[in-house]
C-alpha cells in the first residue's frame, strides 16, 4: 500500500518538477558570421557570444546585432535583425532581442519579440510559412502566403512623459504599472495573413493594406492601413547618410572584434575616441543588462555627448518592459549606494515630465536646485533635462565629471537664466 501511495505522489510531482525548469530545445540556427548573436540561458547571468552557425535554443534571451540573421531549423523561415541607422523608423530602435519559443504544430517558428526590429521571410520553395510572434502576451500569427513574402515588425516600450515612478512591494502582490508599448507590422513583399486575438487581417505589400499598428493602451489593433509605396524606413540600409554609414562600419568592426576577443570588445569601444564606437558600446551594455558597467561608463564619460547618450540608453532600458523600473531602483539602492529618496529622484528624472509640469515654474526651479546635489548622478540628470528644456543654457559650462563647486557655479548661471518663480525664456529663433 505504501508503495502505491508513494508512486502516486511521485506521479503527481513529476510534471511540477518538469515545469520548474524551462526546457531548452534547439529550434533555429544562426546564418550570420560569428558574434552577430549573443545569448543568455535562463540560468545564466551573462550573455555568451555565439560563433557562426550556432544553434539557437528556446528560452534563451537572444541579442542580435543589426544585420544578424537566423533560420528556423527546417529552413522555412529566416529572421533578420535590423537597426534604425538614420533614425527614420517610426519607433526608436536601439537593439533587438527575442526569445525563441518551443515548436508548435503548424507553426514554422515561434518567438517572443522583446524589443527591436526583425524582418521575417518565407524561405520555403513552395507554400506558405507560419510564424507566431508574441509580445506582452499578445500573440500574432503571421502567415506569409508565398515564398519570398516578407514582413517587418518593430516593437518598442517607453514610459510616457509625466509617468510617475511607484515603488511596488512584491510581497503585497501589488500590480506593476507598465510602460506603454507600440508595435508596427509592415508587409514588405508579397502578402500575409495576420491573426491576433481571433481577428485575421489580409495584408499585402504596397499598394494595398500593408501596415498594422498595435499599442498597449488601445489593446486591439486597428485595421491595416493602405499604403501606396513602402515608407523610407522599410529598408534601413538604403540611402544611408554618411553618419549612418559610419555606424554600419562601427557595428561590423564591433562584431569582428567580439568574434576574436569577446571579453575585450566592449571595453575597447568604450575607450575609443570615436563617439560612434562609444555609442555602440553603451547600447551593448544596456542590451546585455550590464548596469554596473553602464553606470561606470557614465561616471567615467569622457565627453558630455557620451554621457548624454548613456542617459538615453538608461531611459530606453527602464521602459522596454514591465518591471524594469523596479529593477533599476533596486540596483540604485543596493549596488550604487543611493538612499531611497535619492533613488526615487533619479527614477523620476529618468521618467521625465508631462506637458503640464513643463508649464510650471517649479519644475525648472527644482531642476536647478538639484544642480547643487551631492550626488553627481542627480545633478547630471538635472542638467540633461535643463539643456533640452532651455536650449539657451547649453552655453553654461558644465562637466558631468566635474566637482560640486563647478556645479554650484553652473547653478548660479542657470538661476540668472531662469529666475525663481518664472518660466524659462522662449528659445531664440
Amino acid at each position: 500500500m505504501i508503495r502505491h501511495i508513494a508512486s502516486l505522489i511521485l506521479l503527481g510531482l513529476l510534471p511540477i518538477s518538469a515545469l520548474a525548469q524551462p526546457q531548452r530545445v534547439a529550434v533555429a540556427k544562426t546564418t550570420s558570421p560569428a558574434a552577430a548573436f549573443a545569448a543568455r540561458s535562463p540560468t545564466a547571468t551573462k550573455f555568451e557570444v555565439l560563433p557562426a552557425n550556432a544553434e539557437l535554443h528556446t528560452s534563451d534571451v537572444i541579442l542580435a546585432l543589426p544585420g544578424a540573421t537566423l533560420e528556423s531549423k527546417t529552413g522555412a523561415v529566416a529572421v533578420t535583425s535590423l537597426a534604425d541607422y538614420d533614425k527614420r523608423s517610426p519607433l526608436p530602435i536601439l537593439e533587438t532581442a527575442l526569445i525563441l519559443n518551443p515548436p508548435e504544430k503548424d507553426i514554422d517558428l515561434a518567438f517572443q519579440l522583446d524589443r527591436g526590429r526583425v524582418d521575417i521571410t518565407n524561405k520555403k520553395a513552395r507554400g506558405s510559412a507560419v510564424v507566431k510572434v508574441v509580445h506582452r502576451e499578445k500573440k500574432w500569427t503571421i502567415k506569409l502566403e508565398d515564398p519570398g513574402a516578407r514582413v517587418a515588425i518593430e516593437v518598442c516600450g517607453r514610459w510616457p512623459a509625466g509617468s510617475r515612478f511607484k515603488l511596488v512591494n512584491p510581497k503585497r502582490s501589488e500590480k506593476l504599472a507598465e510602460p506603454v508599448a507600440s508595435l508596427v507590422l509592415l508587409v514588405l513583399k508579397g502578402s500575409a495573413q495576420v491573426e491576433i486575438g481571433g481577428t485575421a487581417f489580409g495584408m499585402s505589400a504596397p499598394p494595398g493594406p500593408s501596415i498594422l499598428e498595435w499599442d498597449s493602451l488601445a489593446g486591439a489593433p486597428q485595421q491595416p492601413k493602405k499604403l501606396t509605396a513602402l515608407p523610407d524606413w522599410a529598408d534601413p540600409t538604403a540611402n544611408l547618410t554618411p553618419d549612418a554609414k559610419k555606424l554600419v562600419a562601427a557595428i561590423e568592426k564591433f562584431r569582428a572584434l567580439r568574434a576574436e576577443k569577446p571579453a575585450d570588445a566592449i571595453k575597447q569601444f568604450l575607450d575609443s575616441s570615436d563617439p560612434v564606437e562609444q555609442r555602440v558600446a553603451i547600447v551593448t551594455l544596456g542590451a546585455t543588462d550590464d548596469l554596473v558597467s553602464l553606470g561606470k561608463a557614465l561616471i567615467e564619460a569622457k565627453s558630455l555627448e557620451e554621457w548624454d547618450f548613456g542617459i538615453t540608453v538608461l531611459r530606453h532600458w527602464i521602459g522596454r518592459a514591465p518591471g524594469q523600473d523596479q529593477r533599476f531602483y533596486q540596483h540604485l539602492t543596493t549596488a550604487r549606494g543611493y538612499t531611497p529618496t535619492e533613488a526615487k529622484i533619479i527614477m523620476q528624472l529618468l521618467f521625465g515630465f508631462s506637458a503640464e509640469e513643463l508649464k510650471s515654474p517649479e519644475t525648472y526651479e527644482v531642476l536647478i536646485d538639484y544642480l547643487a546635489h551631492e550626488k553627481p548622478g542627480i545633478r547630471n540628470l538635472a542638467v540633461w533635462h535643463l539643456i533640452r528644456l532651455v536650449p539657451q543654457g547649453k552655453t553654461i559650462p558644465y562637466k558631468p565629471n566635474g566637482t560640486l563647486t563647478d556645479a554650484v557655479k553652473a547653478q548660479e548661471a542657470w538661476k540668472k537664466l531662469v529666475p525663481t518663480g518664472e518660466l524659462p525664456p522662449p528659445p531664440k529663433k
Binding site: 500500500m1 502505491h4 501511495i5 502516486l8 503527481g12 533614425k87 517610426p90 519607433l91 526608436p92 518598442c156 516600450g157 517607453r158 514610459w159 510616457p160 512623459a161 510617475r164 503585497r172 502582490s173 501589488e174 500590480k175 506603454v180 508599448a181 507600440s182 499598428e213 499599442d215 498597449s216 493602451l217 488601445a218 489593446g219 486591439a220 542617459i311 538615453t312 531611459r315 521602459g319 538612499t339 529618496t341 526615487k344 529622484i345 523620476q348 528624472l349 521625465g352 506637458a355 509640469e357 510650471s360 515654474p361 517649479e362 519644475t363 526651479e365 527644482v366 536646485d369 538639484y370 547643487a372 546635489h373 551631492e374 539643456i387 533640452r388 536650449p391 525663481t420 518663480g421 528659445p427
Partner: protein, 374 residues
C-alpha cells in the same frame, strides 16, 4: 485496497483538476474593475462591479457554485458611494484598486482614474502611444516636441451647447466644465441677458477652489488662513520655526483681506521677508525630497510670493467678498466677482467632488435660464 486506491485517485483528480477562481464569485463582493475602452478617442471610465452570494463546493469536475451574482456597470465608481459596501464589516482597510479589495483609498483611485483619463485624452488628441514614444525619442535627441493645443479646435461646437452638454461627473471635478459654463454665461450676459440665479450657501463656496491666475491662488490661500495646508517638505524639523512664522505673518495679512480691507503695508512687508527666508530655508531640504515633494514645496512658496504681489495691488481689498462666509452669494454675483478678478475654477480637492457637482448644476441652470428665457 482497491477502494483505497480509487479514493486516492479520485482525490488526485480533484486536486489536479483546474478550478475556477473563487474571488469573483464568493463573498465578499469583488472590487470595482475599471473596464478598458477600445476607443482611444473618447474615454469614459466605466466600472464593472460584481456582487453576489453563493456557496461553492469542490467536485470531481471542479468547483460547483450555487447562488446569485449581479454585475453592475456605471460611469461612477461604486467605491465612492457610502452605501455600496454590502458587507462593510468584512472588508479590511488598505489594498489597492486591483487587489480585489473594494475598500480602497479614494484619493489614490481618483488619481489613477484621472491619470488614465488624461492618457486617453492625450491619445484622443492625436498623440497616440506611438507618438508618445516618438516624442520621448525626439526629446532625447534634443529636439522640441510639438504639442497640439488642446484649446484649439476649429470644429469646436457652439459654446453654449458645449457648456450645457452632459458631462461625466468625473470630468466635472477637473473644473474644466465649470469654466466652460463660466465662459458661456459671461458671453451671454455680455449680450444683455439677465435672469434669476440660484443661491450658493457658504458651505458650498467653501469647497470650491479657484485657479488660472495668481489672484485665484491668493484667494484660495486667504480663505484657508489659520489652517494652511503645508506641503510635506515643511514637515522637516529644520523648517518648523519658519513654518510657524509663515502662518502667523500670513494670518495677520489675511484677516484684513477676509474683512474686505486692504492689508497694511507693514504687515505685507514683514510677511514678504518671511516668505523669502522660507525660500532660502527650503533649498537644502529640496535635495533630500522627491521631485513631487520638492515641486510642491516650491509651488507653495511661489504662491505665497505671488500673493504678496497681488495683495499690494488696489484690488486686494475686494478680492474676497466678506458675505461669502456669512451669507453666501448667488450664481450671478459669483460670476461677476470671478470676471472682475479674472478667476477661473480650479480642480476639486479630494473629497469636494459633490460640491463641484452641485456648482455645475447651479451654473448650468443659470445658463439655461439666460438662454431659454421667454
Amino acid at each position: 485496497m482497491k477502494r483505497f486506491t480509487l479514493f486516492i485517485l479520485g482525490g488526485l483528480g480533484l486536486f489536479l483538476t483546474p478550478t475556477v477562481a473563487s474571488a469573483q464569485f464568493g463573498l465578499p463582493a469583488g472590487a470595482p474593475v475599471i473596464v478598458p475602452s477600445t476607443n482611444p478617442f473618447f474615454y469614459v471610465p466605466k466600472y464593472r462591479y460584481t456582487y453576489g452570494a453563493n456557496i461553492t463546493a469542490p467536485t470531481l469536475f471542479g468547483q460547483a457554485s450555487i447562488g446569485y451574482q449581479r454585475t453592475y456597470i456605471s460611469t461612477t465608481n461604486p467605491a465612492l458611494w457610502q452605501f455600496v459596501p454590502v458587507y462593510p464589516s468584512w472588508y479590511s482597510t488598505g489594498g489597492s484598486y486591483m487587489s480585489g479589495n473594494p475598500n480602497v483609498r479614494n484619493d489614490l483611485l481618483k488619481q489613477v482614474q484621472l491619470d488614465m483619463a488624461k492618457a486617453q485624452r492625450d491619445a484622443g488628441m492625436g498623440a497616440g502611444v506611438r507618438n508618445q514614444i516618438a516624442n520621448q525619442w525626439i526629446y532625447e535627441k534634443g529636439g522640441v516636441v510639438a504639442r497640439p493645443d488642446p484649446k484649439f479646435n476649429p470644429e469646436q461646437p457652439d459654446l453654449i451647447a458645449k457648456a450645457l452638454a452632459p458631462v461625466d461627473p468625473e470630468q466635472i471635478g477637473t473644473g474644466e466644465s465649470l469654466n466652460d459654463l463660466l465662459t458661456a454665461i459671461t458671453t451671454v450676459e455680455a449680450k444683455g441677458a439677465k435672469g434669476p440665479s440660484a443661491f450658493i450657501p457658504p458651505s458650498l463656496l467653501d469647497d470650491i477652489r479657484f485657479g488660472g491666475s495668481p489672484a485665484a491662488d491668493t484667494l484660495n490661500l486667504v480663505r484657508k488662513a489659520g489652517r494652511l495646508e503645508f506641503p510635506s517638505a515643511f514637515n522637516d524639523p529644520a523648517l518648523q520655526k519658519i513654518r510657524a512664522e509663515l502662518e502667523k505673518d500670513f494670518a495677520a495679512v489675511a484677516s484684513s483681506v477676509q474683512a474686505g480691507k486692504a492689508p497694511g503695508s507693514a504687515k505685507l512687508t514683514k510677511w514678504e521677508a518671511t516668505v523669502q527666508r522660507a525660500h532660502d530655508a527650503l533649498t537644502p531640504i529640496i535635495k533630500n525630497s522627491t521631485f513631487d515633494d520638492a515641486t510642491a514645496g516650491r509651488r507653495f512658496l511661489n504662491q505665497m510670493s505671488n500673493a504678496v504681489k497681488v495683495l499690494k495691488t488696489a484690488s486686494a481689498s475686494t478680492l474676497i467678498d466678506p458675505k461669502w462666509s456669512a451669507e453666501g452669494t448667488t450664481v450671478a454675483d459669483l460670476v461677476k466677482h470671478m470676471n472682475k478678478h479674472k478667476l477661473r475654477f480650479g480642480p476639486a480637492p479630494s473629497g469636494n467632488e459633490e460640491a463641484y457637482l452641485a456648482m455645475h448644476r447651479n451654473l448650468a441652470t443659470y445658463l439655461f435660464v439666460l438662454t431659454h428665457k421667454k
